[in-house]
C-alpha cells in the first residue's frame, strides 16, 4: 500500500509534502488564538473541497449544492446530541448514511434520467434550497429559530463529545483532511479511480470498454456526500449553533467549491493549495480593510467573486497545476 501511495511521485514532491505535513502538525504551538481559528477554517475548506472534488474532479458532475450534506451531517448529529445525549461519533454513524442516501437519491434521479451538466448543477441547487426552506419549517430541530448546542465550560478536551478547545478541533480536522488526502490518493490509483477518470474523460468510450458508468458515478456521489457530512459534524460542534438559513445557504455551497476551483479540480493537492491562496488573500484583505477603517459586509464576498473570476478566465484548470509544474513536482510527461 505504501508503494501504491508514493509510487510515481517525484522525490522532491514527497519531501515538500512531508515538510508541509510537519508544519501543520506543529502549527498550534506557534499560532495565536485568532490564527488558529483561521487555520481551522482552512482545514474545513480543504476537507470539504476534497470531498466535493470527488464528485466533480473525479466523476465529472458539478455540484453547487454541497451545503446540503454539511447541513444534514450537522443537524443529525446535533439533534441526536441535544435531545438524546448521543455522542457525535455515534451520531455520525447515523448522519453519514442519511447524507449518502440523499446523495444517492439525487444521483439516481440524475443519472437514471440522464440529467447532466448544467441541469445537474441546477438540480443540486434546488435540493439544497429545498432543504433550507424545509428545515426552516422543521419544528423538531427548532426550524428557523436555530438549534443550539449546550456550551459548557470545559476544563479538559473531551474528544468523544467534541467539547473542547480550538486546538482539539484543529487536530480533529487535520486528521480528517490528512485521511481524506491519503484516501483519495489511494482511490485514484485504484481500479475505481481509473474508472472515474475514464468516465470523466469520455463517458461513451468508457462504456465501450465495459464500464458501468451509472454505478461508478453513483459511488462517487455517495462517497462525496458521506465525506461532506463529516464536515457538518465539525461545523455543528465547533460553532454550537445551526440555522437552516445559514448552513444550507447557497453561499456555503459556493464557498465549498472555491478552494478546489482556485487550486485545481481533479488534482489531489489542488483543494488544499486553493484554500491557502483564498484564506491568505482574504486575511490580507481583512488586515487592509481594518487599517483603512472599512467594515462593510459583502466586501469579502465581492473579493471571492473577483478571485473566482480571475481564476476562471486566466487559469481555468486551477493555479496548483501551474505551480506544481514550476516547482518540478509533476509526474506526467507531455
Amino acid at each position: 500500500m505504501i508503494a501504491r501511495l508514493i509510487g510515481g511521485v517525484p522525490r522532491r514532491a514527497l519531501i515538500l509534502l512531508a515538510l508541509f505535513a510537519l508544519a501543520t502538525l506543529l502549527a498550534p504551538l506557534v499560532a495565536g488564538d485568532y490564527l488558529l481559528t483561521v487555520f481551522i477554517l482552512m482545514l474545513y475548506f480543504a476537507f470539504t473541497g476534497q470531498a466535493w472534488n470527488i464528485m466533480m474532479g473525479f466523476a465529472g458532475q458539478l455540484s453547487l449544492g454541497h451545503a446540503l450534506y454539511v447541513g444534514l451531517g450537522a443537524y443529525t448529529t446535533a439533534i441526536l446530541f441535544v435531545r438524546y445525549g448521543i455522542p457525535p461519533w455515534i451520531g455520525f454513524l447515523i448522519a453519514a448514511p442519511i447524507a449518502m442516501a440523499v446523495g444517492g437519491a439525487m444521483g439516481f434521479l440524475a443519472f437514471r434520467f440522464k440529467v447532466g451538466g448544467v441541469y445537474f448543477a441546477i438540480l443540486t441547487i434546488a435540493f439544497a434550497e429545498f432543504a433550507r426552506i424545509g428545515f426552516d419549517h422543521f419544528t423538531w430541530v427548532n426550524g428557523s429559530a436555530g438549534l443550539f448546542l449546550p456550551v459548557a465550560q470545559f476544563t479538559h478536551n473531551d474528544l468523544w463529545r467534541l467539547r473542547g478547545s480550538p486546538t482539539m478541533f484543529y487536530y480533529m480536522m487535520l486528521a480528517a483532511t490528512m485521511l481524506a488526502f491519503i484516501g483519495c490518493r489511494l482511490l485514484l490509483k485504484s481500479r475505481l479511480g481509473y474508472y472515474w477518470l475514464a468516465i470523466r474523460e469520455d463517458e461513451q468510450a468508457a462504456r465501450a470498454v465495459g464500464i458501468n458508468a451509472f454505478r461508478y458515478k453513483m459511488i462517487a456521489v455517495v462517497i462525496s456526500a458521506g465525506m461532506t457530512s463529516f464536515a457538518g459534524v465539525f461545523y455543528a460542534f465547533f460553532y454550537n449553533n445551526l440555522f437552516p438559513e445559514q448552513i444550507f445557504n447557497i453561499s456555503r455551497s459556493i464557498e465549498i467549491i472555491l478552494a478546489p476551483l482556485v487550486g485545481g479540480m481533479g488534482t489531489l493537492f489542488g483543494p488544499i493549495f486553493g484554500t491557502f491562496i483564498l484564506e491568505g488573500l482574504s486575511e490580507g484583505l481583512r488586515v487592509g480593510l481594518d487599517h483603512a477603517g472599512i467594515d462593510i459586509p459583502g466586501v469579502k464576498q465581492v473579493f471571492y467573486g473577483v478571485v473566482l473570476l480571475v481564476v476562471v478566465v486566466l487559469k481555468p484548470d486551477g493555479v496548483w497545476p501551474w505551480v506544481a509544474k514550476k516547482l518540478g513536482l509533476v509526474e506526467r510527461e507531455k
Partner: protein
C-alpha cells in the same frame, strides 16, 4: 376558505407569473441562442430594480415610465459583458462558462449589498394600493399594470425575432453556428446583441417586478434559480414556453403560499423542477433533447 380568495390569489399569481415569464424569456433567449447559462440572471434583474428605486427616490418617476431607459442600461451592460468577457468562453467546457457567470453573480449580489445594505427596498407608486373589480374577482392595479407591460414587451420581442432580419439572423445562429458563419453572419456581434436583448428583457421584468415586490440583495440568486425552473419547465429554446412556464410557476407559487405557508412557496417550484427534469426534460413546449 371562500372561493373568492382562491380566485383572487390565483389571478394575482397568473399576473405575477406573466412578469416571471418575461424574466425567463430573457434567459431563454440567452441560453437558446448564445448557449450561455446565465447564472447572473436574477442579479441583473435586481440591478434594474435598484436603479428603479434610486430614480424613483430622486425624481418620483413611475417605474413604468422609466422602463425604456432602464432596459437600455441593461442592454448596454449585457452587450459589454458578452463581447468583453463571456465571448472567449464559447469554446471552453461548459462548466467553465457556468462558473464564470457564478463569479459575476457573486460580485453583483455583494456589490448590491455594499451599496444598498441588506434591508428590503420598494417603490410606493400612487396606485400601489388600488384595485379593480371584475365580478367577484379583485385585481391589484400594480399587478395588472406590470402584467400588461410584460405582455407588451414579450410581444415586441417575439415580433422582433419572427419578423425582422436581425431577429431571423439570430435565430439562424441558434440553429447552426457554423452554418451561420459560412453565410457571412457576424456571429460574435449577433451573440452580443442577443445577450443584450436578454438583459434588456430581464431589466424590463425587474422594473415591472418592483411594482409588486420588494428588492433585497438576496433576491438575485432566488430569482436566478426561479428563472431556470421556469425555462426548463416551459422548454429550453421556446419563447412561448418561457411565458407559459412563468404563468404556471406564478400560479403554483401563489396557491402554495395560500394553502400552505408563504415562506414555503418556492419549494413547489423546486418540486416542479424535479418532476420536469425526470419525466419531461424538454419541458412543456421544448423539442426533444438528443
Amino acid at each position: 376558505m371562500p372561493l373568492d380568495i382562491y380566485l383572487n390569489v390565483a389571478v394575482g399569481g397568473i399576473l405575477t407569473g406573466l412578469v416571471y415569464g418575461l424574466m425567463a424569456l430573457g434567459l431563454s433567449v440567452i441560453f437558446g441562442v448564445v448557449r450561455v447559462v446565465n447564472f447572473a440572471h436574477g442579479e441583473m434583474m435586481a440591478i434594474a430594480m435598484y436603479i428603479a428605486i434610486v430614480l424613483f427616490a430622486a425624481f418620483k418617476l413611475d417605474p413604468l415610465i422609466m422602463l425604456l431607459p432602464i432596459a437600455a442600461v441593461l442592454f448596454v451592460f449585457g452587450y459589454a459583458l458578452q463581447r468583453g468577457l463571456i465571448n472567449r468562453f464559447i469554446t471552453q467546457p461548459e462548466h467553465s462558462q457556468f462558473l464564470l457567470m457564478v463569479a459575476i453573480a457573486i460580485i453583483l449580489t455583494n456589490v448590491q449589498l455594499i451599496m444598498f445594505g441588506p434591508d428590503a427596498r420598494n417603490v410606493q407608486t400612487t396606485y400601489a394600493f388600488d384595485s379593480y373589480q371584475i365580478g367577484r374577482i379583485i385585481i391589484d392595479a400594480n399587478k395588472l399594470y406590470a402584467a400588461l407591460a410584460a405582455l407588451v414587451v414579450a410581444a415586441a420581442l417575439l415580433g422582433f425575432f419572427r419578423f425582422t432580419r436581425t431577429g431571423t439572423a439570430i435565430r439562424a445562429c441558434a440553429d447552426n453556428y457554423t452554418g451561420a458563419r459560412v453565410v457571412g453572419l457576424d456571429v460574435e456581434k449577433l451573440y452580443a446583441l442577443t445577450f443584450a436583448l436578454g438583459s434588456a428583457c430581464v431589466g424590463a421584468a425587474g422594473v415591472m417586478l418592483i411594482l409588486i415586490l420588494d428588492v433585497t440583495p438576496a433576491l438575485g440568486p432566488v430569482y436566478t434559480l426561479l428563472a431556470f425552473v421556469i425555462v426548463i419547465t416551459g422548454g429550453l429554446g421556446s419563447m412561448v414556453g418561457a411565458l407559459l412556464g412563468g404563468v404556471l410557476i406564478g400560479l403554483t407559487e401563489a396557491m402554495a403560499g395560500l394553502i400552505f405557508t408563504p415562506s414555503a412557496k418556492s419549494m413547489f417550484a423546486f418540486a416542479i423542477l424535479v418532476l420536469v427534469l425526470l419525466f419531461r426534460p424538454q419541458g412543456i413546449m421544448g423539442k426533444r433533447l438528443t
